[in-house]
């Protein structure tokens, strides 16, 4: 080893050490930025939580400028002066309609999610992995239908549902939800990413088309399936227009309509109801998020 090389080595070592420190600093900075964003994103939850355990008197004291237009500004407290579980009790035990509507939401969600699992997932697979006549047309049509705002489709959809005698039943909300084209689009995009070689290999092994879909397609397209179904799940929890349009019977209304109703006047109750309504999608989201970010490649390596 020559002197020159040695010198170079130490220099390298020095720069490397400096680089490590530098990198460390950058890493911390980047982390800090991320944490800042994360806190910003979650901050509304904090309002909901503190609002839920605040008494109505305290809330109206803080918020009266907003609701009554009085002088001054609304304010907030990190920790309520007089924390109370009254709202929680009221929502959970004293409002049977809350639970009734919660179950309606669950029924809608179950119907739509199951329907999509059994119909939309295969459709996306079919569109992504097979070539057949009219495939392009179907895909473009799905894209176009995705773009139509609900307000516009409502009347015509109403007429179709009316013709089938489905109006004023939960099916009127479930069936159009099952055939949401966006889910297919999203899953289609993910299925496209599945490497053809893996399929070929499976085919060589003598796997049938159905087997291939179940054993190769589903695991590899998991990210897409989970994202699409999760989004659908969220959609079910904040549906407003569809139930109003297709359900006349108030006993069929889902939870998402309960929230706008209570929002004014009983703020604490509204906070608490919102919080509780938010929990199921949130938990499911967090449970599924692990699957969300796992790319196709990660799945493929596992195989």
């Amino acid at each position: 080893m020559t002197e020159k090389m040695k010198r170079k080595r130490t220099a390298e070592r020095k720069t490397a050490a400096a680089g490590r420190i530098c990198r460390r600093a950058i890493w911390i900075c980047l982390k800090a930025i991320q944490i800042f964003f994360a806190v910003f994103m979650v901050s509304p939850l904090f309002f909901l939580v503190t609002g839920s355990i605040m008494g109505e008197a305290e809330l109206s004291e803080y918020l009266s400028p907003v609701f009554t237009g009085q002088e001054g500004y609304a304010c907030w407290r990190l920790i309520p002066l007089y924390p109370t579980l009254k709202n929680v009790v009221e929502v959970l035990f004293d409002s049977p309609e809350f639970f009734h509507m919660f179950w309606n939401t669950m029924k809608l969600t179950a119907g739509i999610i199951l329907g999509q699992t059994f119909l939309a997932v295969p459709a996306a697979w079919g569109l992504a992995r097979y070539s057949f006549f009219g495939k392009k047309a179907i895909y473009q049509m799905y894209l176009l239908l995705m773009m139509m705002p609900f307000q516009v489709m409502m009347l015509s959809e109403y007429l179709v549902l009316e013709g089938m005698g489905l109006n004023n039943t939960l099916w009127a909300v479930i069936l159009p939800g099952v055939f949401s084209t966006f889910s297919v689009f999203l899953m289609y995009r993910f299925f496209l990413e599945v490497p053809e070689e893996i399929l070929e290999a499976a085919r060589v092994d003598g796997a049938g088309e159905m087997r291939m879909f179940l054993l190769v397609g589903l695991p590899l397209g998991r990210t897409g399936i989970v994202s699409a179904l999760l989004l659908q799940f969220l959609e079910c929890f904040s549906m407003i227009e569809q139930p109003i349009a297709f359900l006349k019977d108030k006993t069929l209304y889902p939870l998402s309509l309960y929230l706008p109703e209570i929002a004014m006047g009983q703020t604490g109750f509204a906070f608490c109801a919102s919080l509780i309504a938010l929990l199921p999608p949130l938990f499911l989201f967090l449970a599924g998020s692990d699957n969300l970010a796992r790319g196709i490649a990660a799945g493929a390596v596992k195989l």
């Binding site: 237009g69 179950w103 309606n104 669950m106 029924k107 969600t109 179950a110 119907g111 999610i113 199951l114 409502m154 009347l155 109403y158 007429l159 009316e162 005698g165 004023n168 039943t169 939960l170 099916w171 479930i174 109003i244 349009a245 006349k248 019977d249 108030k250 006993t251 069929l252 309509l257 309960y258 706008p260 109703e261 209570i262 199921p280 938990f283 499911l284 449970a287 599924g288 692990d290 699957n291």
Partner: protein
């Protein structure tokens, strides 16, 4: 277990939960009519089969001049007997008819023997099956039972209650209800909810039940069962033994669901009456939903008559007695909204379709007792038509007016829209623009020819000879106060300057307003008619004038006045009420400004004039003289039942319905004359009214109501006739103006900003 499996497990569990939930649900539910009563749904299903057989209603003639009807009974010999107070002759009478009211015969009573009884306070009386009338009369501390026998002779018993010590003494002798049971025993109930059985020969009372704890509101007898109605429950007991019977869950559920059914009984009737089959085990009852038949212990009641097809559905009616003639015939006595007694007979017609074949759909955004009355009146004349009243905003859910309109539009576009629309709060102009409303000028023409109509209103709604919407009622804005104030009320600008002038002069209490919104609404009703240009655009100057005047007025009035007037509460927000009127006399305000919606209100305004010299005039009369329409009706151009719809409109705008007391003056002239006639003769030596108010400062004010003189009635008629243009009734515009206006008044933005915001939003709306 690692994290991933955990996630899977959770997802799986949630999936399972969802699936089980899914299995339980999704069943097709039958369209609910909004009534949660189990029995109503039963009918809805039967109605679907298109079966035959229905009870038809006929109104039987009653004797004239009934002030109060105490009891109605069907005697063993088949005559119908009434015990009543005749207010023409000022006498108690027993009237009987053997021919269903064709002729009524007054029973000859030994008046001399009855003097003592009739001299006491009589709150209740009962007629037994043999025709004996038991009258409970309270005379000082004595409780007398007068028995008027079928031959007219009178017997007297002094009643003594066995348990006087065990109850509130003051109320014990106040007998609130009485009835004969199937055995012919007389049952009475006092104000303490104690029930007694009276021995008719001795006058001894036997305590049957003490229900003081429950606080009984009213009761009925069915056979040998007493049904005592308390809040949210019915207590049943045997009328012979007093033994408590098992609770009827159906009745309890019904009472729990509708608290109005247990409203305290008054002489104007009850919300719920009972009858029973003699000796049988079946209970019949009537409420506004109809006539029901209930077998004790059963889990449902069978609906025999759908209330909405008969007078029972009219919520302004209350019931007195239900009498079962036989299984196919019932009699019902009731009191109408004007206090008039009605005798209704229901007979089963096995050939009539169980639900009338023709359904007339009437839509209104908001329910009103007026509409219910009209429907009831129409239904009586047209028993072959079923009027289905659809209410957009039932009020018990979070539905907004907009959601309701959206649902209505969907129905209209789907071809299943209503036949008749009450357009209050609906985008009527847009409907007309789209050709969704039919020309109703022939109907208006016919009424104008028959009864006469306010020509100014007709002209206001006439567009090139066609009329697409027409109000059944209308009202105007008045200003009243001292002379200078009345003069100032002639335009917003003058009013505003007057206020500022008074303020500079150091006067504080000038204008009665409860809030910024209240002020804006009052001025809106008077001024908005002038805003719309003929090309459908909003005039910016007019809006600006309105808002800056409102601001000037609001600023001239010290802010604390908001609380002062707020504390009155309970009054309709924008009408000249009695309390407002007293303000001028008490010097708590200089003037009144607001709409006047009835002759009763006018009586107040007139009495102020005659006793305190406070004059009145049409408000904001210098620009455009305006009126506020209400119960605007139109017929859908898509209807296939235009004949029925037009007949319905005839009823709505007709003389009979016009005379109903409801806010607004009838556009129908004949009805209006009747209202005027009523107002001119309302108060006499027997019936008087007035108000007396004392303030915290010790001021005292007193006023008796006087019948307006013909000249003054002519004046108000003249004012009504002079109004030429309706106020801007567009809900969207009104909402925008009031919302932005309130901000301007409270100082969140300047008047200019608010006006520009209003103009921007409104022109967006109008440009759409």
């Amino acid at each position: 277990m690692n994290g991933k499996n955990m996630t899977r497990l959770i997802s799986l569990l949630l999936c399972l939960v969802l699936m089980t939930a899914g299995l339980g649900g999704c069943k097709k539910t039958s369209p609910s009519t909004g009534e949660t009563n189990g029995a109503t749904e039963l009918l809805a299903e039967e109605g679907g089969t298109g079966g035959k057989g229905r009870f038809l209603e006929t109104e039987l003639p009653l004797p004239e001049n009934i002030r109060r009807l105490y009891d109605t009974a069907l005697l063993e010999n088949g005559t119908i007997a009434l015990f009543l107070w005749n207010d023409k002759e000022n006498i108690y009478q027993i009237q009987e008819t053997a021919d269903e009211g064709e002729s009524w015969k007054v029973r000859d009573i030994d008046l001399e023997a009855a003097t003592e009884i009739f001299a006491g306070y009589i709150d209740t009386a009962a007629i037994s099956a043999d025709g004996t009338v038991g009258i409970l009369s309270k005379n000082d501390d004595r409780l007398l039972l007068g028995l008027i026998l079928p031959d007219g002779s009178v017997e007297k018993r002094e009643l003594t209650l066995p348990d006087m010590e065990n109850q509130e003494q003051d109320y014990a002798l106040n007998i609130t209800g009485s009835a004969f049971d199937a055995e012919g025993s007389l049952l009475i109930e006092n104000l303490n909810s104690h029930f007694y059985k009276v021995d008719l020969t001795t006058g001894n009372c036997e305590l049957l039940q003490d229900l003081e704890e429950k606080y009984i509101r009213h009761f009925g007898v069915a056979g040998n069962k007493v049904l005592a109605v308390a809040e949210g429950e019915a207590v049943l007991f045997d009328s012979t033994t007093g033994e408590l019977l098992e609770e009827e869950t159906v009745l309890n559920d019904m009472l729990a669901a509708d608290s109005s059914l247990s409203e305290t009984v008054s002489d104007s009737g009850k919300p719920l009456v009972f009858a029973g089959e003699n000796g049988g085990e079946v209970i019949f009852y009537v409420n506004h939903q109809g006539l029901f038949c209930h077998t004790p212990g059963g889990s449902v009641s069978e609906q025999l008559i759908n209330g909405s097809l008969t007078s029972m559905g009219d919520t302004t009616v209350s019931f007195l007695d239900l009498v079962m003639v036989d299984e196919e015939h019932f009699l019902l006595t009731a009191v109408g909204s004007q206090g008039e007694a009605k005798l209704l007979k229901y007979s089963y017609d096995k050939d009539a379709p169980s639900v009338p074949e023709t359904e007339l759909k009437v839509y209104a955004l908001e329910d009103s007792s007026f509409l219910r009355q009209v429907i009831s009146a129409y239904q009586k004349e047209h028993q072959d038509v079923y009027v289905n009243l659809q209410i957009g905003l039932s009020g018990d859910d979070g539905m907004t007016a907009e959601d309701a309109v959206r649902a209505l539009n969907t129905d209209i576009l789907a071809g299943s829209g209503p036949d008749v629309l009450i357009l209050d709060g609906l985008p009527a102009e847009k409907y007309i623009e789209k050709g969704m409303l039919a020309d109703i000028s022939p109907v208006i023409e016919e009424i104008a020819g028959k009864d006469g109509i306010f020509e100014n209103v007709r002209q206001a709604y006439d567009s090139d000879g066609a009329i697409y919407q027409f109000p059944a009622r209308f009202y105007v804005s008045l200003v009243n106060g001292e002379e200078e104030a009345v003069e100032a009320g002639s335009s917003l600008k003058k009013l505003a300057d007057f206020m500022t002038g008074k303020k500079t002069a150091g006067e504080s209490k000038i204008f009665p307003m409860r809030s910024a919104e209240n002020l804006l609404e009052k001025l809106y009703a008077a001024d908005s008619a002038a805003w719309m240009e003929s090309d459908g655009k909003l005039t910016e100057e007019a809006v600006k004038e309105y808002l800056s005047c409102a601001k000037q007025i609001y600023d001239a009035e010290p802010t604390e006045s908001e609380d002062v007037y707020y504390s009155y509460g309970g009054m309709a927000s924008d009408t000249i009420g009695t309390l407002d009127a007293t303000g001028v006399a008490l010097k708590t305000s200089k003037l009144n400004y607001g709409t006047i919606v009835s002759m009763t209100e006018f009586t107040t305004v007139y009495s102020m004039k005659s006793q305190y010299g406070i004059d009145y005039e049409l408000a904001d009369r210098e620009t455009v003289k305006s009126f506020v329409p209400c119960q605007l009706a139109g017929i859908s151009s898509q209807t296939e039942k235009s004949g029925e719809a037009e007949e319905f409109l005839q009823a709505l705008l007709g003389a009979e319905c016009g005379a109903y007391s409801f806010s607004g003056f009838p556009v129908n002239r004949t009805a209006y004359e009747e209202v005027v006639e009523d107002a001119a003769n309302r108060y006499d030596e027997y019936s008087q009214g007035g108000i007396a108010v004392s303030t915290d400062e010790g001021d005292f004010f007193e006023m008796t109501f006087e019948n307006p003189t013909p000249e003054e009635l002519d004046k108000i008629t003249g004012i009504l006739e002079s109004a030429e243009k309706p106020a801007c009734m567009d809900r969207v515009i009104k909402e925008i103006v009031l919302e932005q206006g309130e901000k301007a008044l409270k100082g969140d933005m300047t008047v200019e900003e608010a006006v520009s915001e209003i103009m921007k939003k409104c022109s967006l709306y109008l440009a759409e």
